[in-house]
Symmetry: C2
Subunit: 229 residues, 2 copies
DNA sequence: TGAGCTTGGATAGTCATGGTATCCAATATT
DNA sequence: AATATTGGATACCATGACTATCCAAGCTCA
């Protein structure tokens, strides 16, 4: 297909596609002549991934390019790739191997995981913990005892499902880490709303302005029983 | 204290503090004279919260102001406040009550939660699910069956710990939702790295450059027993 | 008292991002 | 041949988050 069709298929303006081309996010189509190139389904998919990474995950165009290059040039070392990908993900904190991340270290020790200051995620965790502290809601032991195992279980599922084929594994690891984060975050927010509205009782309005029927009582929800504190 | 001291205490440049003042993120100190004002600990804390929200959570200055105003003017309706807060959080998708969010609806039905298109989080979830799909890693039933309950459990803990006092509850709900997200995300990334390095076997190097002894089994951690699901 | 420093308040400038818009010349297409 | 579409290059623009200056009205301390 020609680039004009790519515009139609993806809904992304021509000028923007050219921009992605320039920035190296999107490989140029196969040149069929001096002034013409053919694009394929891979390009359609690539554009979708670019938008997912930039719009939903919130990566900058530069970081998106880094991540895509990781996928395009997979190395055998999955763990190393994963590390590099995580480094590209927000929040953009650059790890300093010689720095000390006391909060992160304490947390990791409690979780029985290795504290490795070269991991970008350690610096990210430190940052996040400091922010929580600053906001007046530190991650105390009790909360960590809840968050830790559940997050670990989620991560175990993720890792269990890594494809065997190396290239696919890299793509899964890199994209999966990034792309499921917003899903998890949204699910938590929705669970908050669901629980809060049930807790504060049906009968009161569930939303700010719209007058919506408050979600019906906690009744039967998959047989789950939510004890209310 | 004078503003120059606030600069020292927070490490934020004067020009930036003035910017926050202008934008209404930071209340001005109590005027002691025509050209002098006194700042207190509340200001120090406020600046910390501003940085946490902008740097770590990734809010824009505008959205940060919205969130802070929510906290400063708490209403009794906690659920409504929570909804407004979530609306200010990234990704910035504005919910359309008349729109249909098919992916989000399907997920919520499977989870036994109410589908309410006015909730911003529903639109956010739809967005995230579409992005995951575009990236080639859709949230299939199996994954949802794992993510859902664990996230729910986390959210239950969060809701269980809402303070009783209304103003404190609003602050906890609004800040807690936002501020713990980066923590959860960082924990998942670290769990990925931990699991991946264990999986690809000790014996192989755990990171690209650093040589880290693979963590010992999750066994006993501080005598605390967190049952793993 | 007065020289110099610190403020608050206002205004303008800067830098990075993430696009948009144009122009052009070389083809395709009809 | 006439018209439309490309690729490639270049220039332009809007937003956001600061950052820098200016100024005049106080403080402060010798």
């Amino acid at each position: 297909m020609r680039i004009s069709e790519l515009v139609e298929r993806t809904g992304v303006p021509l000028a923007t596609l050219k921009y992605y081309l320039r920035e190296g996010l999107l490989p140029s189509g196969e040149a069929t002549s001096a002034t013409r190139a053919a694009y394929g389904e891979t390009h359609v998919r690539r554009v979708a991934v670019i938008r997912a990474l930039t719009e939903t995950v919130g990566l900058s165009v530069q970081k998106t390019r880094d991540v895509l290059q990781l996928i395009d040039h997979p190395e055998e070392d999955l763990v190393g790739m994963l590390g590099k990908a995580i480094e590209a993900l927000p929040p953009n904190v650059t790890p300093d191997a010689r720095a000390d991340y006391p909060r992160a270290r304490a947390v990791l020790e409690k979780l029985g995981q290795v504290y490795e200051p070269r991991f970008a995620a350690v610096a990210q965790l430190e940052h996040a913990l400091a922010a929580a502290e600053a906001a007046g809601i530190p991650l105390d032991d009790e909360r960590l005892a809840v968050y830790g195992p559940h997050i670990r279980a989620i991560a175990e599922f993720d890792v269990r499902n890594v494809p065997r084929e190396p290239a696919a594994a890299v793509e899964y690891a890199v994209l999966g880490t990034a792309v499921h984060e917003p899903v998890l975050v949204a699910l938590r927010r929705l669970a908050h709303q669901d629980l809060a509205s049930r807790r504060l009782g049906p009968g009161r309005d569930a939303t700010k302005s719209p007058r919506g029927k408050p979600p019906k009582a906690p009744s039967a929800t998959k047989g789950r029983s939510w004890k209310k504190d």
